[in-house]
């Protein structure tokens, strides 16, 4: 078991550093001060389903696409009766039709491929053509089962299904009972090659269903693909699925707890997709004990038969660096995925402020991970002024020698009232060269962009938010996922549809930085399969680095003027190269004296001008 360190945070502030036997990682003086979450322009927005008040900074809403036909249920939006007459009418309605499904049409996760955005939903998925202008609906598929996390590879769409009521045949009657041969919980595979004839071609049953899944390319074979499946629900009965047994590993070494599922898809025969491994990624690396992750303090209560880290909620893979970051209920972990069928844990962390490790996002360099804490599961108001700023927040961690270390917390810096469900949720890197930026969904807290270039001092640089569905009454809604996909922020709004947002320049983000990010394109983007971004040598990218250097209080005005002249010359004429070599030398010299992110920016600029000089 590795030594785990406590991130100094609330715990430090209260003087309760519990790990007396552990060396604190940060001196108290260096411990980042906890954020104070205050009211701001987002706090008191007016309510409304389609007409709520809005606030934005550093970004602008470009398109808002309401849910398509079949994906909106007016009956599911309901406020409790306020008087006797309303109460009686409601009782009568419930007697006539007890079927009632709030959240059952919630929009969830997204993927983009071949000019189409795929928007998951508890009841199926929708596809939008996004090649030009406003998103245009091109396909709707209904197949209930939640939560509908989607990924795309070529003509295949993968969907996570976890609810007990889900059926193999996307059916009309729920699969009921403790054991039901028609029940489906796992990963569905659809053939979407013909938008006018989508078909389900495979359904891989798993023991704990599929809460989320992650596509993992096979470095050795482009015709095969792996899926890491994270099931968080109860274990199915053996009578329903023979590979499944429940229980603690002490009593049942074969337990379906304490593992993820590795599914292999032969792209030539996707209908044969099957589980090929259920690795014990939480096992103790020395003893091999299956329940090997943190179960107690230094005195050790590992013998107690109680709950612990036995599942991942979400795994983000970064094939380029051979690592995956897992957000696994009670711990954050790092996996070596160089052999994708056999992921092995190389690091893990625990922190008393993290209630539920929910998702993970690497920075582009692969030396930082942002873990989110979905304290409360997303259906409650957890961004109120009285909620601690280190709970339900992001934890920025660094990776050194393949070891995770927690550095700082960052929470949405806006108090959100009782009527808005809010906690840290899904996000993605915005590829601005020279900076680590992440756009992220906070449910009804809206969409927020965090700068975590300095892992000890994360801060917000842009946001978009709406008021509640109804003032004074919490209806579950808001942004489920907010991703940077080919030049725009795409936000799946649980109740209101799909939002498209554009970054706008301001003091914290320049036009060149935005242009550099917008220029990054990919044919297929599955946000949990992270791809390394590289930027071309161009005047825009050079300007982005320069804007960052100039923003620093320590900027050397003479040097920035000199570089600006070089960038201007480049913009006017790609062939005019005089002075480039001198500029490269000046930047190299300055980089030697610089520290932090500016050092990297100057080095990158020196490289660009050096190559330009030829």
């Amino acid at each position: 078991m590795n030594v785990r360190r406590t991130l100094l945070s609330t715990a430090a502030a209260l003087g309760v550093l519990t790990g007396a036997g552990l060396a604190p990682t940060l001196a108290s003086a260096q411990a980042p001060a906890a954020q104070v979450i205050a009211a701001d322009a987002r706090t008191g927005l007016s309510g409304g389903l389609h007409d709520a008040g809005q606030a934005a900074s550093g970004m602008a809403l470009e398109y808002s696409v309401p849910p398509p036909p079949g994906f909106f249920d007016p009956d599911a939006l309901f406020a409790p009766p306020r008087n006797q007459a309303e109460a009686e009418a409601f009782q009568a309605r419930m007697r006539a039709n007890p079927k009632y499904g709030p959240l059952a049409l919630a929009n969830t996760d997204m993927a983009m491929s071949d000019g189409k955005l795929f928007l998951g939903n508890f009841n199926g998925f929708n596809a939008y053509d996004v090649t030009d202008g406003a998103p245009r609906l091109v396909m709707s598929v209904v197949c209930p089962g939640g939560q509908g996390d989607v990924s795309v590879h070529g003509n295949l769409l993968f969907m996570s299904v976890e609810e007990n009521r889900a059926r193999l045949d996307c059916g009309t009657t729920a699969a009921t009972g403790e054991v039901n041969a028609e029940r489906f919980r796992g990963v569905r595979i659809f053939d979407i090659s013909d938008l006018n004839a989508p078909r389900q071609i495979a359904a891989v049953q798993t023991c704990r269903g599929s809460h989320t899944h992650t596509l993992v390319p096979d470095p050795a074979d482009p015709r095969s693909l792996y899926i890491y499946n994270s099931g968080t629900s109860n274990v199915r009965k053996t009578e329903e699925l023979s590979i499944c047994t429940d229980g603690q590993p002490d009593q049942n070494p074969e337990t379906a707890l304490f593992s993820i599922d590795v599914i292999k898809v032969n792209l030539d025969r996707p209908q044969d997709a099957a589980i090929v491994n259920r690795p014990r990624i939480f096992a103790d690396s020395v003893t091999g004990r299956v329940a090997g992750l943190w179960r107690g303090g230094r005195a050790g209560i590992a013998s107690q038969n109680t709950s612990q880290t036995n599942q991942c909620h979400d795994i983000t893979v970064y094939p380029d660096i051979g690592l995956a970051a897992g957000a696994c209920s009670g711990n954050g972990i790092l996996l070596d995925i160089s052999d994708p069928q056999n992921p092995t844990r190389v690091s893990d962390i625990f922190d008393p402020d993290m209630a539920y490790w929910h998702s993970a996002t690497f920075n582009n360099a692969g030396d930082k991970v942002v873990f989110t804490d979905e304290w409360g599961g997303g259906i409650g108001a957890r961004c109120r002024a009285e909620d601690p700023s280190t709970w339900g927040a992001n934890m920025v961690a660094t990776i050194e020698n393949r070891t995770l270390r927690g550095r700082a917390f960052h929470k949405l810096p806006s108090a959100q009232p009782d009527d808005q469900n809010c906690v840290a949720h899904n996000g993605m890197i915005i590829p601005v060269p020279g900076r680590d930026l992440m756009v992220q969904a906070w449910y009804q807290g809206g969409v927020s962009v965090m700068d975590f270039t300095d892992p000890t001092k994360p801060f917000e640089i842009a946001y978009f938010d709406r008021g509640p569905v109804e003032t004074g009454k919490l209806f579950v809604a808001g942004s489920w996922s907010a991703y940077w996909l080919n030049g725009r922020i795409w936000s799946s709004e649980i109740a209101r549809g799909l939002d498209v947002l554009k970054l706008v320049p301001g003091p914290n983000l320049s036009a060149a930085e935005i242009a550099a990010a917008e220029s990054v394109r990919a044919d297929t983007i599955n946000p949990q399969t992270q791809m390394r971004v590289s930027w071309p040598d161009s005047p825009e990218v050079a300007q982005a680095y320069l804007d960052q250097i100039a923003r620093s209080p320590a900027a050397d005005a003479a040097l920035t003027a000199q570089v600006q002249a070089g960038v201007d010359q480049w913009r006017q004429s790609a062939g005019a190269r005089q002075g480039s070599a001198e500029l490269a030398a000046a930047l190299t010299a300055a980089a030697e004296k610089a520290t932090g992110a500016d050092k990297g920016r100057m080095t990158a600029l020196a490289g660009m001008f050096g190559r330009r000089a030829g």
Binding site: P80, L103, D169, S307, G330, L474
Partner: protein
Amino acid sequence: MTLLPGLLLAGLIAAQSAGSQTPPIFQPGAPGAASRVITPGEAVALSRSTFTGDDVAFMQHMIVHHAQAVEMVELLQTRAASPAVRLMGRRIALSQQAEMDIMRDWLSQRGQPLEMPGMSHAGMDHSAHAGHAPARAMPASDTPVMPGMLSPAQMQTLAAATGPAFDRLFLTGMIQHHQGALDMVDALLATDGAAEDTLLSDFTNSVVSDQSAEILRMQSILSDL
């Protein structure tokens, strides 16, 4: 916004369907089978799930169960010694109160009473409320009001403790209490037809994940006391 005016809704839906470019809605079949085309009304109907008496009883029970955690944290205000225990208690109280709101909303949105018949406040054994422990003449019961809760006797012992002894009792008691919630979820999921309601299904998942994580944290604090 009040309840969405019917007219506005009708307008919204009409505007959506009026776009003649809207593609059909497919409902796939089992793997290998063809898809069929369904109407928007059928699509919405597919999203609707029903709920059972067991679901309702689960929510009603869980409200009572959570109320005990809040009561335990109230005791903590004047009795706990460890700042880590206080912090933990604060987190638990915030979580359990918020979850109680969700459960009450779930019940009232489905036209169900918040309390089970016979489970009303008046019907409960008052000695369960350790904060105002009754006279010694009536020894508190060793039997909890329902499975997964602390017994009235345990609550009295907790209320009588202070300092490090309280911290230890609080943590062991709260671990037992949280384990009770996990057992309640397990029992619900083993019941025919239960937990098919999407919000309830999501809620039970959050109860399991949050309370498992809190148990982990409490074990950690306990071992460091």
